[in-house]
């Protein structure tokens, strides 16, 4: 049988080796999650706001063809050049062609998970083009030759000491200096030069608006704006699911996005691009890359509502303790684990299993995607497709046998308790029980819940 290797678990093991760093990662993301909670609680209508956002997205997906056509028409009227790309290769080629046309050799990019998904950077670098990521976190990992580990906080896996060493090497900051203020200032000076000399700027798109033919880009650093306004050519790249019907709908999404992402009330800059500035050229690239397939699947189409806030990652107990890189995909964490198998089922078959299915992701998602249910659904789809790792499959079918036969379940419980009480070290032996790697099994209760309940019942009812 052709099965996927348990990459996530293996990568996570590497991440977990540095215990101090793992703890820090876990606590920092939980801190961000807590900020999100406070921001959400500051709005009494939070839950209804999520509901509206979810419904607007559902509606937009149900008329996606109409809205894309409307977006295209209006964008063209505004003087924006619109392109369509079926997949990553087409997307990259379109970008390259525009560069060639303008003889551009230096480009600045603001963070875009879509270009990450399409592996645009390595493609352009191979063509001899200088590609500079300008979001500070992105620039850091670019200098380290790494992919982002989080969609909102790309360098969240690194400590300031790592960054200090990195900047010392590349930007000439003082050896051993690790003050974030000082390092950020150094990056500002370094990147200013890149902004000023760039021929062309690439940005992502947070929302595209069919009604106005424009699009909105949200950043805290201002890098998307500096890049786009200084270069002669601006290329904005978006997944086709990013289109919403009207500008008034932005009010709903902008109230949710930053609060869910970082706990801020709104991002510092929410820029509405609608026409190229005089003397400049603006392109909009609409990319499918598996999205129409996802749309055609009733089980998974809801995942296209995602506004990439990252809240599901910050709250996920598995993400927080395994690090974004363990997911070996552009978008890590719970939502990435739904999107990735759609692109390559075999390569990413391990990801829907990298979840406790606790439902925390679903609870925080600002557009109410049923994330944990989709992960559960993927496990079944992957099992049926025969791409699940055998050990997991045995475990699952074993559970199936156990849970569908109550008498066996009762017996197994009793036997297990006896076994663990009599031979306590057995269950903690990693070779027999993989669950016990990094974990101690709890002491088994003397009595099962069922027995205890029966006893209580007898006591109270005589």
């Amino acid at each position: 049988m052709n099965t996927a290797s348990p990459k996530h678990a293996k990568n996570a093991e590497a991440f977990l080796r540095d215990e101090e760093n793992t703890d820090w990662h876990n606590e920092t993301l939980w801190f961000v999650r807590s900020k999100r909670d406070r921001a959400a609680q500051s709005l009494p209508e939070w839950e209804e706001l999520r509901e509206q956002a979810s419904q607007i997205k559902a509606h937009a997906l149900s008329k996606l063809d109409d809205y894309l056509i409307q977006l295209e028409e209006n964008a063209r009227k505004n003087g924006i050049i619109v392109h369509w790309a079926a997949n990553a290769d087409e997307h990259n080629q379109i970008v390259l062609d525009i560069m060639r046309k303008h003889k551009a050799t230096k480009i600045v990019k603001s963070k875009s998970m879509l270009t990450e998904e399409c592996h645009l950077n390595p493609f352009l670098i191979k063509q001899g083009i200088e590609v500079i990521d300008t979001d500070l976190g992105e620039r850091i990992i670019q200098l380290r030759n790494e992919p982002p580990s989080h969609i909102v906080m790309p360098a969240i896996h690194l400590k300031k000491k790592h960054i200090g060493d990195l900047f010392h090497l590349h930007l000439g900051t003082d050896a051993g200096a690790d003050d974030p203020q000082y390092l950020t200032e150094a990056a500002r000076i370094h990147l200013r030069q890149k902004f000023l000399l760039a021929d062309l700027a690439i940005t992502g798109v947070n929302f595209a608006i069919a009604e106005t033919g424009g699009f909105v880009v949200c950043t805290n650093e201002g890098n998307a704006d500096l890049g786009a306004h200084l270069a002669k050519v601006h290329i904005a790249c978006m997944g086709i699911e990013k289109v919403i019907p009207k500008a008034e709908h932005l009010g709903v999404f902008l109230r949710l996005l930053a609060r869910s992402a970082t706990g801020q009330a709104v991002t510092t800059y929410s820029s509405h691009f609608r026409k190229p500035a005089p003397g400049q050229e603006m392109h909009l690239v609409l990319v499918d890359n598996g999205r129409t397939r996802q749309l055609a699947s009733p089980d998974f189409r809801n995942s296209l509502k995602c506004i990439r806030c990252g809240a599901c990652m910050n709250t996920c107990p598995v993400y927080r303790r395994s690090g974004g890189h363990s997911y070996h995909t552009a978008v890590a964490g719970p939502i990435g684990s739904i999107l990735a198998p759609n692109i390559d089922m075999k390569e990413y078959a391990d990801l829907p299993f990298a979840s406790t299915l606790c439902g925390s992701c679903t609870n925080v998602c600002p557009v109410k995607i049923d994330i944990h249910q989709q992960l559960y659904k993927w496990r079944q789809v992957l099992g049926e497709a025969g791409v699940v790792e055998p050990a997991k499959k045995v475990g699952m079918s074993g559970m199936d046998v156990l849970f569908s036969r109550p008498w066996l379940y009762r017996f197994a419980g009793r036997a297990g308790r006896w076994l663990m009480q009599t031979f306590p070290t057995l269950a903690n032996k990693a070779s027999l029980n993989p669950w016990a790697i990094h974990r101690d099994m709890p002491k088994p209760p003397e009595q099962s819940f069922r027995d205890w309940y029966a006893q209580q019942n007898k006591k109270t009812n005589g």
Binding site: I140, E248, A277
Partner: protein, 196 residues
Amino acid sequence: MAEPTTRDTILAAIRQGKPDLLPLPATIGFPPNISAENLVESFMTMVKTNGGQAIRVASLAEARAFLAEDYDLTLPVLSHVEGLDISNFTPAEELRLLDTLHLFVLEGKVGVAENAAVWVDEAAIGIRALPFITLNLSIVLSEKNLVGNMHEAYRLIDTSTGFGTFIAGPSKTADIEQSLVIGAHGSKTLTVFLLP
């Protein structure tokens, strides 16, 4: 017959796979949580939370005095606010030369009390790069143009301009160990003057 284009293929795939029509919610948005008499106070608190400063002034002359206090007005300064004549900088056509700009002052159209985002559009900005490339930014806004939340703001702003943006503070980042640093790529300070 001509080969179907990528556009046709994508649209056909959408039509094939999209769900049945789902309605938009009956109403979009919510009434503000901030009462009219608290708009100024909430807005000013949020500017501070976002890392900027908000100052209530009675006149543009008062705003000018504050700017003269905080900034060296002999450095390159540009004001697009009528009646606030402190400009000594003429932007050249070459965008790179804007990099020396020390202070830029412009007029905000609408301010949102809930998050301190201020809408500025192309008419007020002029050259689009200005509010982002300047070292210090100042926005002048009338208290009459404060609203409670984003839904109200979208009813007032004109989204048919070529470019417009909500600015909610100085540029910032927390990409190094989640420590907040003010002044990433854009302006390092933001001062909002509230006029009656």
